[in-house]
Point group: C2
Chain length 166, copies 2
């Protein structure tokens, strides 16, 4: 296996990150949800106080092979931050080479450096290949928890009912 | 119903927030996971760059009746931040008065003010009363997604395998 390298990103990578996000959305059959643009990503990831961080995985020749995007969340029970992995993606031609694990080991180091109590992420229930990897690494499914999402008109309608301004 | 008010928190609320988190852990039958202390919360929530934010709900007499704790996450597909509600808790003696909804409407406003594309949270699958409220508000369960968590020795073992320092 060629040795991949991980590098941090700059505003100049916004197009590449957007490309990877679109490829991930396609793989997850969620391309209809894809609204991100390089401009939006530049603004959100490369401002003075970025909401999330992205890294690029390059193959032995310096060609981009995948990426990961993460932010820090907070566990009230632990009283410490956590690392939440929003996206992990490896291009089809690089799959089966252990590149996903290379990204995960790197992020586990980032988590420890930042005093995180844990690392979390979500996976689609049909993505067996990814699930097998996560289980092999000792990650545990949080099967008793259900995630709820409020978005679009339902979010605006709820906000409109508030009797108090934040 | 007495009219409750929501107020932001300061470092002086760390003991109260810790008390509410412990009560929530007890309610969720997860008290064994509770490691937070007022000191840890003071450091994480009230530094110059806090990782999360807490608000207190007070009854008509100014008595603390519940709290919510949230942070901002990021949706790569939307290219915009989201509001993640880590904790929502109302003391038993105030349940059935609509106080949980008061907190949720307030947070929906915070989400819109901060240009968030969505609001998300997790609920234990046996917490029917909470689930009924969330469904009534138009929140959708993300049932096709499974959350994985890596923590403790498994996290440290994975980090130790990294060939590259962050």
């Amino acid at each position: 296996m060629s040795t991949p390298k991980i590098r941090p990103t700059t505003a100049a990578d916004a197009e590449l990150i957007c490309h990877f996000i679109r490829e991930l959305a396609r793989f997850e059959k969620l391309e209809d949800q894809m609204q991100a643009t390089p401009e939006l990503l530049r603004e959100q990831l490369f401002s003075s106080n970025p909401v999330a961080h992205a890294v690029i995985l390059e193959d032995a020749h310096g060609k981009p092979a995948g990426f990961a995007l993460y932010f820090f969340n907070f566990s009230t029970f632990m009283g410490r931050p956590g690392l939440y992995l929003e996206d992990l993606f490896v291009l089809p031609e690089y799959r089966g080479l252990g590149f996903g694990k290379v990204l995960l080991t790197y992020l586990a180091q980032v988590a420890l450096q930042k005093n995180c109590a844990r690392m979390e992420w979500a996976v689609l229930d049909w993505n067996k290949r990814a699930i097998d990897l996560y289980e092999a690494l000792g990650a545990k499914p949080q099967s008793e928890w259900m995630t709820y999402r409020l978005t679009g008109p339902a979010l605006r309608e709820l906000a409109a009912q508030s009797k108090q301004e934040p």
